[in-house]
């Protein structure tokens, strides 16, 4: 087990503007920690710095309380799974898995014992004599995991390991990796650009953008209480609907995108500053169908309809934005049809339009959290 601390870690190339700026982070033992962000956010660089493949420009990296900035990768007691799996094409599966152990001159019997253990765990017994090119994508992925398993390192780093697999296999491997991690009690740092992977796999998630930490927390917290606009739009599928909002002059309405007038209810709007430019957000599942309802009904034009069978995803034109709603069941809606939509103020999330910071998360989300606890 490993406990990892990042203190003011930064990275810059050739003394130019930093790729990563003062990252402070603690990863607990046995935790499945996900680094998520768009490409170019610096997440892979951070992972490679933890691995020791990339030099740390500033700050300290501590593993189990010891500063390891100066240690080469092999002395950090970790394993890593690469995006392209980094399998040796000229070696068989067995040789690939044992490559590191042979290189470190681990006892022969111990090698065989660990090989058998890993092969049983990952279902590789039949494949041991094959070359990587004779394997499917999922099988290669398993071999790469096997290499990590036999190393018996307490810390495992994964750099977008599922991005080369098709959607169905990816869902399977998500479960498999997660189970493996729990079973072996590994501390896992997992890099991905896919927020679904992040949400479904992580004990905690760190959202990274432009070399800055946007938010660290449990998946549900990130979903319900995004600290800023970036997290709000990055986490969740479809992304949170966002619109510009101002209060009307008499203060009785909140006007979203110059189109939707929401009556101001003091119990919800009391701590919202009236004089600032705002952005409001609402999740797709909170834009409810308004057919049989009376309050807060707005008529919106449907610009795209996706029938998914169990639910219907409808895109609406709202000012300059396109908002998406997800309604359970099958809804026969025509393109361009005006559809009544219920927009309850307790579902609204408020952001400062200039800084993008969260002002107030949705009332409903908080209530729900209380219920589950």
């Amino acid at each position: 087990m490993s406990h990892i601390e990042l203190i003011n870690i930064s990275k810059s190339y050739d003394k130019q503007k930093g790729v990563l700026n003062s990252i402070n982070l603690t990863i607990e033992e046995g935790e499945f920690f996900v680094l998520v962000g768009p490409s170019g956010s610096g997440k892979s660089t951070l992972l490679r710095m933890i691995a020791g493949l990339e030099e740390i420009s500033g700050g300290f990296l501590k593993i189990n309380g010891q500063t390891v900035n100066h240690l080469p990768p092999k002395d950090r007691n970790l394993s890593m799974v690469f995006q392209n799996y980094a399998l040796y094409p000229h070696l068989t599966v067995k040789e690939n898995i044992l490559f590191g152990l042979k290189g470190r001159k681990v006892d022969k019997q111990e090698q065989q014992r660990r090989l058998k253990e890993a092969a049983d765990m990952l279902g590789l017994q039949e494949l041991l004599k094959r070359k990587p090119r004779e394997l499917s994508g999922g099988q290669r992925q398993r071999v790469a995991l096997g290499r990590s398993v036999v190393s018996h390192a307490p810390l495992c780093l994964m750099d977008e390991p599922l991005s080369n697999l098709d959607a169905k296999l990816r869902a399977n491997m998500r479960v498999e990796i997660r189970r493996l991690q729990k079973r072996l009690g590994l501390t896992m740092i997992y890099v991905t650009h896919d927020q679904v992977e992040a949400m479904t796999m992580g004990d905690r998630i760190m959202v990274l953008n432009d070399g800055q930490i946007q938010q660290v927390g449990q998946p549900i917290t990130l979903y319900n209480e995004p600290e800023n606009l970036f997290v709000a739009t990055f986490i969740g599928s479809p992304k949170m609907n966002i619109g510009n909002a101002v209060f009307s002059e008499n203060g009785k309405y909140l006007i979203v995108e110059n189109q939707i007038h929401i009556p101001v209810n003091p119990s919800i709007f009391s701590d919202i500053p009236k004089d600032r430019k705002l952005k409001v957000g609402i999740r797709a599942e909170h834009l409810a169908a308004g057919l049989s309802k009376k309050e807060n009904i707005h008529s919106l034009e449907a610009v795209n309809i996706e029938q998914l069978g169990n639910e219907t995803s409808i895109a609406f034109d709202v000012g300059s934005e396109v908002w998406t709603a997800k309604w359970p069941g099958q809804w026969p809606i025509e393109l361009g049809q005006k559809v009544p939509v219920q927009l309850l103020p307790e579902f609204l999330v408020f952001f400062d339009a200039d800084s993008g910071k969260l002002i107030k998360s949705a009332e409903f989300g908080k209530r729900q959290e209380v219920v589950t606890v």
Partner: protein, 314 residues
Amino acid sequence: MSMAYRTLETNETYILQAERVKKQNRKKSFLKGMLFLLPSILLFGAFVFYPMFKTIYLSFFLTNAQGATTVYVGWENYKALITDPIFMKSVKNTFLFVFYTVPTTVVISLALAVVANEKLKGIGFFRTIFSSTMGVSVAAASVFWLYLFNPTMGLLNKFLEVFGLEAIEWLTDPKWALLAVSATTIWMNIGFTFLILLGGLQSIDSSLYESADIEGTGYFYKLRRITIPMLSPTFFFVITVSIINAFQTFGQIDILTQGGPANGTNLIVYSIYREAFVNYQFGSASAQAVVLFILILLMTALQFKLGERKVHYQ
């Protein structure tokens, strides 16, 4: 009934028409393809295929001093070659020469390429230096080495003198002449071989090394288990080309030793040159050329047969 008959008829005519159009298209694309190939066909025809067939033709004749055929002799030229001690010696010399130069060139170039593949400051300078012999002509390099080998003023003998060793007659001592020519050739070939091997090294996926680093394997383990196997297609190419080049060596022999001493450095191509342009025996020179062609063909075929199995393409 009549409707069905008519459609059948139109279908048949349609198929016929389609066939005709297909044939026309095929003809058109064949002509287009030939047009693209024409320049190479002309050049190869004039400078490779015609001389090759002419050589084979000449090898069955005796000729006069102008190279015109005089008497048809069948296999006589070839039979004479097998019993000719000078030619047999040149064959032996050639194989020795290949044996001296090819492995040494590849090993030295590999060492240089591995060193030059490190990410260090100013490594570009060393890469340029190591590959620079590629830009030196055979003649210039040979003259340069001629000075180094000079028994009295040459740098090599000066070195020996410093260490109190006896001077060596590099190019005139039968023990040393072939080695001296080999050394020159190795030096000249390093540039090309180095460049190809460096290219091969750089195309190896860096994540393979990173993974090995994390797993804690040593430098030489990585070299032996990753670098060498991953380079095998490059090795295969380099060795094939080097062997063919070594078989065809001429320039440095002509400038450094003229085949001497006592035919000690007389390689096949030089022997062909002497037979044709010194002795004016174009028939027997052609026979030698054909023998060389067959030798190279066999060597290359053998290499492909043996090499293919051990080469790992990615």
